[in-house]
Symmetry: C2
Subunit: 253 residues, 2 copies
């Protein structure tokens, strides 16, 4: 059964998340139903490089899909983009990955962006795409605090209580905070993240940005290994899955 | 009756346009209903610097509003942003303009941006915010053609048949076309525009970008003074009203 890699973009607002659930429409369901006619009518199996929660967006999610037929990648892309209408999911590119490749297990890195709209008026054009924090944030203090979280640590304090990973040991490669006009943007990268890790880190850094906690606090929270000590989980709206990286470069069509 | 100037942002997708209409919700209606409690319960009168059509967005629309009471600008901003929920309209700033100032008639310039998503896959994250043109566009040819439309001309060929302006003589100050990755962006500015002028110019320039017409064609269309010779009216989705300019600088709060 040939395996294909899909590079996809979606607006997470109308979905219960990447993964199929009984309580609503998922990105996975939209894709699998759109792909069924390419698979003899049967729902194909898909796996994403990183599962995203309800309301979280993606600019470059990577998905593996196994189809019954050997088809030109362009044809798969066109068919999926036609049949997934009117949902805000688009297949940007399709390729045949190397033998044994897995979207999830072969990924060597994942990158996310988190956008905070930091102005008094609520968002209009960016509704659903940003976390609105009306009080002024000190982005430099947030960046300073973020640097102390880099490296290999037990991220228990930053994982969701529902997180199913066996252990909380992760290596954080990048956690940059910068200001762009009235936005505070967090860019982060790691081999993998725990459930809610990015949103919990952002929620904790915002406490520093608001001046409620010192820049040393997020690291103290980390060292405490106690979820209840961290800041709030930042809302999903501001989060976008940017890309996944693999040892073998994929030749996207 | 004190007059205030509002700087507002909106996502045009759910609206019938700026202006009140019997067939659906307008930005004007949302604002006026939100402002009524600041006006003794009566609907205030508002006028925008530029009326936008259904589906057209604004980053910096300027609106005048006359209210019964003398109120601090910050209070008006906060009240309107609270009461206009959940609609995608936000008041960015409020100020008291100089005596005799009119949002519409005092405006010396208006600027718009038009975004074309120029890639094969349809938009997902930018659905409703771009015109999707899947065939490759030659942005340099479009820019070359655009420069021949600058200056003072009779823009009859580029006005809507429904346009109510007395004459079609307008001075086009800027019409720049550039490529940013897989987007072709048109930036334009003039003292004022005719109804559908920007969308008709973009629709005509796209014919050049697709190679169906030479770069000299949009100017020939202009000189022909015949609406039926121009290209299609580009869809509203890609259009955003950016700002209005006035002789007196407004001191936004």
């Amino acid at each position: 059964m040939p395996r294909y890699a899909l590079l996809i973009e979606y607006d997470g607002s109308p979905f219960v998340g990447w993964q199929r659930q009984v309580n609503g429409l998922s990105v996975q369901q939209v894709l699998e139903e759109a792909a069924a006619p390419l698979n003899g009518g049967a729902l194909p199996e898909t796996t994403a490089s990183g599962r995203t929660d309800a309301g979280v967006h993606a600019e470059g999610q990577v998905v593996q899909i196994d189809l019954a037929a050997d088809l030109p990648p362009e044809r798969i892309r066109e068919a999926l983009n036609t049949r997934s209408r009117p949902y805000p999911v688009a297949v940007l590119s399709v390729t045949r990955p190397p033998e044994g490749w897995s979207a999830r297990f072969s990924a060597l890195g994942r990158a996310y962006r988190y956008r905070v709209l930091n102005r008094r008026p609520r968002p209009a054009l960016d509704m659903g795409r940003v976390w609105h924090v009306p009080q002024p944030l000190d982005a430099a203090a947030m960046h300073e605090a973020a640097q102390m979280l880099l490296g290999r640590h037990d991220f228990t304090s930053y994982r969701a209580s529902s997180c199913q990973a066996k252990d909380a040991l992760r290596t954080l490669d990048r956690l940059d905070v910068s200001r762009l006009g009235n936005e505070v943007v967090v860019q982060t990268a790691a081999r993998s993240f725990l459930h809610h890790q990015v949103r919990n880190m952002v929620g904790t850094l915002v406490e520093v940005g608001l001046g409620r906690k010192p820049a040393s606090w997020p690291r103290q929270v980390l060292d405490g290994r106690d979820r209840s000590r961290a800041g709030q989980t930042a809302p999903p709206d501001g989060l976008t899955f940017l890309r996944a990286e693999y040892a073998d470069r994929l030749d996207w069509c």
